[in-house]
Symmetry: C2
Subunit: 135 residues, 2 copies
């Protein structure tokens, strides 16, 4: 009852491919303030005050953004004295990059296959044009 036979093959990979970690990573990257924080941290460690200073928002707001980055495991903090020092973490980003890479790979492979199919159809049409079936 699936719409098309070729769709069933693809369904192996999806239906509901839950991945809360990936959700959190992409969501964390979806806000300019959080990307700014990450870019800042890419230059080295900073505490919360330093991170919040250039952002045009209140300190608690910036603190919440850092917390979002932590939930996505993109940032880790260590508390030394009264300051909370943050640094970036690489592994979660790798997963996101891997998803994008696989997506692109799948997509480009399909394009090649589509080109081949079009060539084949063109060749078939050249040989026998009497058989006229739509769809």
């Amino acid at each position: 009852m699936v719409d098309k036979p070729c769709a069933a093959v693809i369904l192996n990979h999806m239906v509901v491919n839950r991945s809360p970690r990936l959700d959190r990573v992409f969501h964390a990257l979806a806000h300019p303030a959080r990307r700014a924080i990450l870019q800042r941290l890419a230059g080295g460690e900073h505490n919360l005050s330093e991170l919040a200073a250039p952002l045009r928002m209140s300190f608690p707001a910036a603190s919440k953004h850092v917390r979002v980055l932590e939930r996505a495991r993109l940032v880790r903090r260590r508390v030394v004295g009264r300051t909370h020092i943050c640094r970036v973490e690489g592994k979660p980003l790798e997963e996101a990059e891997r998803w994008l890479e696989e997506y692109r790979r799948h997509w480009e492979r399909n394009f090649l296959r589509l080109d081949a199919l079009l060539d084949q159809m063109k060749a078939e049409e050249r040989e026998k044009k009497p058989d006229h079936r739509r769809e």
Copy 2:
């Protein structure tokens, strides 16, 4: 009045580095249903009914997800008759990948620099240890 001199250099790149397109792309990728739609579309074109079928949600909900993907320019639709046929678009994803790549580059370069700094500090400490200053 900026906290540290080295911070001012980095501030060129940020403060408020608005990029609504990037926001939309990452936000679009942050939901499992939308990633599933993209993976499905990576295998070829589909209309809305086909996209909505495997998703455990109402048709209008799925339609909204496709609309989010369209606003992010990750998906384009063409209307033929009563069916809306969707296909993936590659360029916006490239921008996201570029951001991730630059972020990683910046971050890894800093790690190298940090290693060099640690070596230098170790060497200095070896030569003259009388100067004992905390921080």
